[in-house]
């Protein structure tokens, strides 16, 4: 039972990550590979504020969101204002690598490769989210808020302006609108929800180290929205479901343990190739991701 709950908690973290990347990459057209840096910064900031400063989970999360926006959203918006398409994507890879380098080497703050153990569980009004089932409900709360927010946001005039930023920045400028502002809004919202995912991950696992927030992780999160599709809610959610549940389903295929992990990734990669080839919008997506 605990194993299923564990899978569902991880699934919810990936749903939040995929939905937040969907706004930046799907709606706003900023193909980026630094989602794990946003997620990792959120995880580290929440952890450090809880462990070193003794703050409770919710205060730490709130401050982590603000700091993460000031750091990552500001830098990424600056990059997005100066670089287009592939050049922007390459710059986000650099940002991701810099993030990893900093958390790996700044040992006095992050404990580097040793990681930070003993992260306390979230607590609200005397209730400690200690057991997997309790934590599942906390994750469910944040996932529901995320889904409701993005469902509502997709219908706002502001979201339409993000889509226009993706479609033609020059035309938006000729119409008197500032594309850099809309990119900042999109990236900031992405950072907010990536921080939530990071905070949930850190407090659920009770331990973080830099290997959870690598470029590989950013690529994986991008593949989730590539598979599921972008521009709506169902795309990223279904992508996360496939990514998290497919390996679990493949456990029922009799496969020697020595090759099962690699075989699962090969099957996932094959699905990805087929989708990119035959359904470039993803399974349920509205837009093709543009680089």
């Amino acid at each position: 039972m605990n194993y299923i709950i564990h899978i569902l908690i991880i699934l919810q973290i990936y749903i939040i990550l995929a939905l937040s990347l969907n706004l930046k990459t799907g709606f706003t057209g900023l193909l980026s590979l630094c989602q794990a840096a946003f997620y990792g910064t959120g995880a580290y900031l929440t952890t450090l504020l809880m462990v070193d400063k003794g703050l409770n989970f919710f205060t730490a999360l709130f401050l982590a969101i603000l700091i993460n926006i000031a750091l990552n959203a500001a830098i990424t918006t600056w990059l997005a204002g100066r670089l287009r398409n592939l050049y922007f994507t390459l710059a986000t890879i650099a940002l991701q690598i810099v993030f990893f380098g900093v958390v790996y080497n700044w040992q006095s703050l992050t404990r580097g490769p040793f990681g930070i153990p003993g992260i306390p569980k979230p607590e609200l009004a005397g209730i400690v989210f200690n057991t997997p089932l309790q934590f599942f409900f906390l994750a469910l709360f944040f996932t529901s808020v995320t889904i409701v927010f993005f469902y509502w946001f997709a219908k706002t005039p502001l979201c339409k302006l993000l889509e226009c930023t993706r479609d033609d920045e020059v035309w938006l400028t000729v119409l008197g609108k500032r594309p850099a502002y809309f990119k900042f809004v999109s990236i900031s919202i992405t950072v907010v929800f990536a921080t939530v995912a990071g905070a949930l991950y850190a407090t659920y696992m009770s331990y973080i180290d830099p290997t959870s927030f690598t470029l590989d992780e950013s690529i994986l999160i991008l593949t989730i929205i590539l598979v599921g599709g972008t521009g709506n809610i169902i795309g990223p959610v279904s992508g996360a479901l496939i990514y998290v549940l497919l390996p679990e389903a493949l456990r029922f295929v009799n496969m020697p343990d020595s090759i099962s992990a690699n075989a699962r990734m090969i099957i996932y990669a094959m699905i990805l190739i087929l989708i990119v080839r035959f359904k470039p919008n993803g399974l349920f997506g509205k837009f093709e991701i543009r680089g």
């Binding site: 005039p157 502001l158 226009c164 479609d167 119409l175 809309f182």
Partner: protein, 242 residues
């Protein structure tokens, strides 16, 4: 005499030894259509780039409604009523026709996330006003039936109309039209022509580049030829017609 909406004084721009715009002077009165024709490379598009803020002149000034806007950005000019229609129509292709128009509207409150909590009613009110305006434009441009289509599904002529409609949503008073009749069939050309006449009669001002001299002389109040960066006065059709 009526005050000029656009006043260009000694505008000059050159690229590596070639003078693209050579001391151009031009005054445009509100509610008129001024036409420019000329060969490829005569400097027409550079002149439009200088007027709309995509490029800066080396010399000279541009006054819009009496204000010196020579160094102002594209966004500033757009916000103060200058619109530019490109030869290859610019649209938001993956957004619906209606949303293309709404995005060009002036729902300023809707740009800020916190306003959805604090100024919800103002956003709603502006949205209704923009929707009404967009519906009128769709009606006028015969695009009502296509309002729900993605903009990339439109024909070239329809895309140009959508572009023009978006500029009107943004309350452009002066429209710089770069070859509005290029690459479209006769039916669409007739439609654009009648829309331009109707907009002009309601006070919109136009500066139009056009290869088709017949169309230009038919529509324009005054026509200029651009030759090696210089603007040469030709016939004042307004007087010629009388």
């Amino acid at each position: 005499m009526m005050e000029a909406i656009l006043n260009i004084q000694n505008l000059y721009k050159h690229y590596e030894g070639i003078v693209a715009v050579d001391n151009v002077n031009l005054t445009i009165i509100p509610g008129t259509l001024t036409g420019i024709f000329g060969d490829n490379g005569a400097g027409k598009t550079t002149l439009f780039n200088l007027l709309s803020g995509f490029e800066n002149p080396e010399n000279g000034s541009v006054f819009f409604e009496g204000k010196n806007i020579t160094k102002k950005s594209v966004i500033y000019r757009a916000r103060h009523g200058m619109g530019r229609l490109f030869q290859i129509p610019r649209i938001f292709p993956d957004v619906t026709v209606l949303d293309n128009l709404l995005a060009a509207g002036n729902n300023h409150e809707a740009k800020y996330l916190h306003n959805y909590l604090l100024k919800h009613s103002a956003i709603k009110k502006n949205k209704i006003a923009d929707l009404e305006k967009a519906k009128n434009i769709l009606d006028q441009f015969h695009l009502t039936e296509k309002a729900g289509l993605k903009a990339y599904e439109l024909s070239v002529g329809e895309k140009r109309l959508l572009s023009l409609g978006s500029l009107l949503m943004n309350e452009a008073k002066l429209l710089l039209l770069d070859e509005p009749f290029a690459g479209i069939n006769e039916v669409a050309a007739k439609q654009i022509k009648s829309i331009l006449i109707s907009l002009k009669s309601s006070g919109t001002t136009f500066l139009m580049i056009e290869h088709d001299k017949a169309k230009l002389f038919e529509l324009a109040d005054s026509v200029y030829e651009m030759k090696q960066g210089k603007l040469l006065n030709t016939t004042n059709t307004h007087h010629a017609n009388h």
